[in-house]
């Protein structure tokens, strides 16, 4: 039976890619290991190798096709003795078929916790979306991925200030493990875009030492999971020096990189450090959701004279959003944003948690519950005022986070609401969070471990007594 070649997933979070080029023609003989095509993702161009032998029977997706979903059949390989007449009987290889079973490309993914690119900024109906107060009316907007927004923010700040440089693993020649630093080496050279050895504790300390002299390093961690190796330098050296020196010496430094759950990488690579860093006086902690916020807040972080933890989300990197085309788009640190206004219940989240919150708001609207959605954006200093004012209006609040509940950011928000708006509450604050378990690998368990839209909807209804 002819074998189908499926669109491969080239990274844990890839959902689609472009079929850039076919390197084999129909009728050509194929051996296992031959490069048959080139696939472009938003991160890189990768070669596809054949794992089966035979003749390229039919190309199903022509080259130049954009946005081909993972697991889409892209070609058919005929085994020895088969002919074009057999093409109709093609079946996917066993392994791919199994993958397709646990995660069929179209249906299951629509319900999966990971947002899809086209839904990421989750454009709710325009009528309930609050305009961004930082953007003057009539500003031209450009559509770009969060990855590009981050890169542009760093490039703009590096052009503006020669003391800004970036260091980390694979930031230069590899162009960034997640391609966030793409092109920076070419523009700024190896003096300012510095590949480090795999040595998180050491290079974090080198960055802090350099910042004590007035330089402004951006230290990229390939993921924040690896920053646990460096957390002593971040907390004991970066966060405390200004205080311990009586205000003489501080560190203007940004520690940035992907934080939280990626997809199918299990417990050691899927942890949310929001609560960890947001506990530390001396640090500022930022965890944005929208592309515009990623850009404006990273620029603010780089300019800030204090150590800033900038928590990104790998799942969001490829998502696109509207970014204002302004020469200098800087968003103040410490201000939450009401992204959707409503009168019945307040949903408070940040980073990828916003995906669940915004979708839940859509669901709730169908049932006549108008949710107000607050994107916290900065976790420290926390914009208590915006939260409290909203809760005074709605009387009900649900926090949404991917991190764990115990001593979590949701717990902190709930405490602040209790302290500042107790008399306005019509129900106890509810928390939707990651489950109290290490992140499992299996797709179904992973989905269960993360928050879901349904859980947010249920919590919002519960606090509304509906």
């Amino acid at each position: 039976m002819p074998i189908q070649v499926l669109m491969p997933a080239l990274s844990p979070t890839m959902e689609k890619g472009n079929l850039a080029k076919w390197l084999k023609k129909e009728g050509e003989t194929i051996k296992s290991g031959d490069v048959i095509a080139e696939i472009e993702t938003d991160k890189a161009t990768m070669e596809v190798e054949a794992t089966d032998e035979g003749t390229l029977g039919k190309i199903l997706i022509p080259e130049g096709t954009a946005d081909v979903a993972v697991n889409t059949p892209i070609a058919t390989i005929l085994a020895d003795g088969e002919s074009a007449a057999d093409l109709g009987k093609a079946s996917a290889p066993a392994q791919a078929a199994k993958a397709a079973e646990s995660a069929p490309p179209a249906e299951a993914k629509a319900e999966a916790p990971q947002p899809k690119a086209e839904k990421a900024p989750a454009a709710p109906p325009a009528a309930v979306t609050e305009p961004d107060p930082e953007v003057p009316a009539g500003t031209e907007m450009i559509t770009q991925t969060i990855r590009e927004a981050l890169r542009d923010a760093m490039a703009e700040e590096m052009r503006r200030d020669p003391d800004v440089f970036i260091m980390g693993e694979e930031v230069a020649e590899y162009q960034g493990a997640y391609k966030v630093t793409q092109g920076l080496l070419q523009e700024f050279g190896a003096r300012r875009v510095i590949d480090t050895p795999i040595t998180e504790h050491g290079f974090a300390g080198v960055g802090v030492g350099a910042s004590m002299t007035g330089l402004k390093p951006i230290v990229e961690f390939m993921t924040f999971n690896f920053a646990m190796q460096a957390i002593d330098q971040i907390i004991n050296s970066a966060a405390k020096t200004l205080y311990m020196s009586g205000g003489q010496m501080g560190c203007s430094i940004v520690f940035r990189g992907p934080n939280g759950a990626a997809a199918r990488v299990a417990a050691q690579h899927s942890q949310d450090y929001s609560a960890w860093y947001s506990q530390i006086p001396g640090l500022k902690v930022i965890a944005p959701f929208s592309a515009a916020d990623y850009k404006g807040l990273l620029k603010a972080a780089i300019r800030d004279p204090n150590p800033v933890i900038f928590l990104e989300n790998e799942v969001l990197y490829g998502h696109t959003g509207e970014v204002p085309k302004l020469d200098d788009y800087v968003i103040p640190i410490g201000k939450a944003r009401i992204v959707r206004s409503g009168k019945d219940v307040t949903l408070i989240s940040w980073s990828n948690g916003m995906t669940y919150a915004l979708k839940a708001a859509d669901e709730l609207a169908k049932e006549g519950i108008e949710a107000e959605v607050i994107d916290l954006r900065t976790l420290r200093p926390m914009d208590t005022e915006t939260i409290v004012n909203s809760v005074k209006k709605t009387g009900r609040a649900v926090t949404v986070e991917e991190g764990w509940q115990q001593s979590g950011v949701g717990a902190e928000i709930a405490a602040r609401i209790m302290e500042h708006a107790f008399d306005y509450l019509d129900a106890p604050v509810a928390r939707v969070s990651g489950k109290d378990v290490p992140m499992p690998y299996a797709a179904n368990l992973e989905k269960l471990a993360l928050p879901s839209v349904a859980e947010v909807v249920a919590a919002a209804k519960a606090v509304s007594y509906r």
Partner: protein, 340 residues
């Protein structure tokens, strides 16, 4: 790489296998004596104030190791940076920081270098290029490498000196830093103050390789063992290391063989070594007595030496007075200097 000629390793108390280091001029001898004495008297006073309860928490005295920082400082120029661990009072005084400010920090007063908020282990001076005072063992090695990185980034010819002990030498980030420093040819001198004990654990009980000058070998960093009780030997080795770094050849390791007379901290029961061991080194090796004896042999008068003693005592006594009279920080200081 052509490493500079290594001097022969010698333990304090050993015969000087390599002969004497280059002689100091009389002015250098007098300056070294004065700076070492200032540290010795300051530390004695700090110990006394600790006993009176005027200084709290941890207090790690530098008595016995004075030749290391004083000799190294003589090899540096203005603009070079210094960073060290928690046994830092001597380093600050050697850098020219004001004794009043250091002592007032020890007593937790508002006139202290950190307004009383840092204490013994956490003081800094941008003016004197002193980058702390760090309480986490080994952290200053990565940070000091970062200071050198900044010099390299800015294209100046300053060097940074990162001091750490035989104990810190077993921390992982030390080797992470060695690797980057040699990889990027950073101008950093790693001064390992081997005072033979990491708290109460002797080097032979804590370290697989007790020749610390070889700790950079797998990174190709040259190293040298130095008689850290002889200020002239320290200065000579410092000169060599500074020249190496300023020439852009990368980092350099100096193992200073020295000795701490007092306990690790004020609460050290000293069960790990004998009284005789300490006494022998005090008698045979004392860095201050070595200079004093050479000066006397060179016919410098007792009077002149006594005048130095008196000047130093006056500074130290004034600092103790200041540190006890100066008010504690205003309560509002609790909430300042967290962000800027």
């Amino acid at each position: 790489m052509a490493a500079p000629k290594k001097s022969v390793a010698k333990e304090p108390g050993q015969e000087k296998a390599n002969g004497s280091p280059p002689e100091f001029t009389k002015a250098q001898e007098l300056a070294a004596l004065r700076d070492m004495l200032l540290i010795r008297r300051f530390e004695e006073k700090a110990g006394q104030l600790y006993g009176m309860g005027a200084i709290g928490g941890f207090c790690h005295l530098y008595i016995g190791q004075e030749a290391v920082v004083v000799g190294m400082q003589m090899a540096l120029k203005k603009g070079d940076q210094v960073i060290t661990g928690y046994r830092d009072h001597g380093h600050m005084l050697a850098c020219g920081m004001d004794a009043n400010g250091v002592m007032a920090e020890l007593t937790g007063r508002r006139g202290g270098y950190s307004k009383g908020k840092g204490g013994s282990m956490h003081m800094f001076s941008m003016e004197k290029n002193f980058y702390g005072g760090h309480g986490i063992v080994g952290a200053q090695v990565s940070l000091g490498t970062g200071l050198a990185f900044a010099n390299r980034y800015r294209g100046n010819d300053f060097v940074s000196v990162a001091y750490f002990g035989d104990g810190a030498s077993n921390q992982g980030q030390v080797y992470e830093s060695f690797n980057m420093a040699e990889l990027w040819k950073l101008p950093v001198i790693y001064v390992i103050e081997n005072n033979r004990y990491a708290m109460g654990t002797s080097v032979t009980r804590s370290s697989a390789l007790t020749d610390f000058s070889k700790r950079g070998a797998s990174f190709n960093i040259p190293g040298q063992q130095v008689d850290g009780m002889d200020v002239r030997a320290v200065k000579a080795a410092g000169d060599e290391a500074v020249a190496w770094c300023r020439a852009g050849k990368g980092p350099f390791i100096l193992e200073m063989q020295t000795y701490r007379y007092r306990g690790h901290s004020m609460s050290d029961p000293a069960k790990y070594r004998t009284r005789e061991e300490v006494e022998k080194i005090r008698t045979d090796q004392d860095p201050i007595e070595q200079v004093r004896n050479r000066l006397l042999a060179a016919k410098v008068s007792e009077q002149e030496l006594k005048a130095i003693d008196a000047e130093v005592r006056a500074i130290v006594n004034a600092s103790a007075d200041f540190a006890q009279r100066d008010p504690e920080p205003d309560p509002s200081e609790l909430w300042t200097d967290i962000y800027r």
